[in-house]
Amino acid sequence: MSSRLVEGSEVVADAMVRAGCRFFAGYPMTPFTEVLEHMASALPEVGGVCINAESELEAVGMVWGAAAAGTRAATGSTGQGLSLMQESIAEASLAGIGFVVLNMARGQGDYFQATRGGGHGDYRTPVLAPWGPAEVGDLVADAFDLADEWRNPVVVIGDYYLAHTWVDLDMSSEVATPRPSPAWALDGSSGGTGAAKLVSPLGTTKQRDGVGYDLAAHYAGCAERREQMTAGIAPRAELTHTDDAEVVLVAYGTMARYADAVVTALRAEGERVGLVRPITLWPFPEDIVAGAAEGSNVVAVYENNAGQMIDDVRISVGKSVPIVGLNGFQTDSSAFGIAPDVTVENLTASVRELLAGAKA
């Protein structure tokens, strides 16, 4: 055990390198910038490449190329930068090119962007949401595994707090040897054999086989693969004291840490309050949320936006239990998603009101 004081951004970068990521490209933007800084110093040390791309469009393009060449690769930004990458993220799904996309978001206003995708067409991206640096290592490794398994972009979503909170953490685990290049990936060697490989969002049927690109057939195949991915990824959530809870909080990421503190304190007073923390935002843990809500008097969705995840909670719970949103917090003038009213005290007061209502 050798723990040290470390910033969340370094934990994220370190987790990517440990997971075998050997190519990273990004464009600086708060609160993502420090991840890029750490990758710029960490990757060359293990023989990898980090490029300070001239735009987010080029960053994701570079990752497209590196991933197609068989490398574990990642890019990232905050939600604004990810808006610029959406075309490539959507089409990478159709091309079967998997990589990891970090969103060090400003607050939680990018929930829809992450879970619905801001790009075009029928595609989905798995989304993992660590609630603190200690969970980052496992979830980043999972994200790369999912990107490999499903050959699809995978989003890891954090925020300003995750990126900039310093924690005491064990950073001594082994750096994994990068996995070998997958069989589908390109290395140039099949050229001239009469069966040169093709990786394309338009499909992989070649004219020499008597058919050209058939987009209808390709998109149908992509839809089938997407259904398999949807069914093949187990939704994950963490439950805290939900069995007998009158008030069930639902929160992810940083907001779940505040909620967890409130639940712990109120439980010590004997109040029946619990927490569901979605870890996979897509696929959303609908059954787990519905199960936790069952028997409660009210479900409260605590999120640092104007109310986005509450839609998924409504889909999960239906109308059997009242659902309220604890959201719409004003952010400070930095616009980095820091909401001064997000405090344990304020949430405690809100939950007490809900408990009083539940008892009334």
């Binding site: 735009s55 497209w64 190329g65 197609a68 060449a69 050229g191 054999t193």
Partner: protein
């Protein structure tokens, strides 16, 4: 092997020599089978210059023995018709994005001859900054721009290289600098960037220019193999459909109109340090 098929030839006499097989008593003196192109028959418009340009590129790869150590990164446009028709590995990129995609490939596989194929709309309009940045970073790739001065795939629309007076579907009376701005000379733009190994502009409107263009592409790949940084070859290609002229007039139209603004020649050639 390239499959050759007789396509739509009207039979005018009793005796027709088949074009897809050699006569039994023939003595092969030269093989004109295109290198590394799977199916010789293409589905682009009659008179299109792009198949000739693609063939020049594939010939260069064959001549240099790079077939099993090269990778093509295609953009989106008419030439995408060849991205699933080559016997080299192909990575399809989105419109405008080929240079950044090629960057990701070359950084992970620096031993490869990585090259991009884009049209003028793809490289010049949608993603101009990509090739400029790749050039300045000194990415060791070959970038090919097929320049016909129009968005051919959409039916002949204005691009950044459309010449003054050229008719397109959205400059129907001809490009007027006062109304539609001026054409950009992409090769000249790239030639002045430090970190660039080779820059040339060829054309495929006559046999002489086709031969010169093939030499340019060979030079570009040789420069890439020597590690001189980004090589760029712009190839002027005919688009009679998008130029709204008879097919047989297109080569002369290219020489008189397009090449008048985009002059053919070698613009930059760094000497190898080897």
């Amino acid at each position: 092997m390239t499959e050759r098929r007789p396509v739509g030839l009207e039979v005018r006499s009793e005796v027709v020599l088949p074009t897809n097989v050699a006569p039994e008593d023939a003595n092969l003196v030269a093989d004109f089978t295109p290198n590394l192109i799977d199916v010789g028959e293409h589905h682009l418009c009659p008179g299109c210059g792009e198949p000739i340009a693609i063939r020049a590129v594939m010939d260069a790869i064959a001549v240099l023995g790079l077939a099993d150590k090269s990778m093509a990164v295609f953009g989106i446009g008419c030439s995408t018709a060849f991205s699933n028709n080559l016997d080299v590995e192909v990575l399809q990129a989105l419109h405008g994005r080929a240079p950044s995609v090629a960057t990701g490939v070359i950084r992970m596989r620096p031993e490869l001859a990585v090259f991009t194929i884009q049209g003028d709309g793809d490289m010049g309009n949608e993603g101009l900054q990509e090739v400029l940045h790749a050039a300045a970073r000194g990415e060791n790739i070959v970038c090919i721009m097929l320049n016909n001065g129009v968005f051919g795939e959409t039916g002949g629309h204005l691009t950044v290289t459309t010449t003054i007076g050229q008719r397109t579907k959205n400059t129907i009376e001809g490009r007027d600098a006062d109304k539609h701005g001026h054409p950009m000379r992409i090769a000249e733009l790239i030639a002045q960037i430090d970190g660039v190994g080779y820059v040339a502009r060829g054309a495929v409107n006559d046999a002489g220019n086709v031969a010169r263009t093939k030499r340019m592409v060979v030079e570009a790949f040789a420069s890439q193999q020597a590690g001189n940084g980004l090589s760029f070859v712009e190839i002027l290609t005919m688009c009679p459909t998008g130029w709204f002229i008879p097919t047989e007039d297109a080569p002369d139209y290219l020489a008189e109109t397009i090449a008048g603004t985009h002059a053919v020649g070698v613009l930059r050639q760094e000497q190898s340090e080897q």
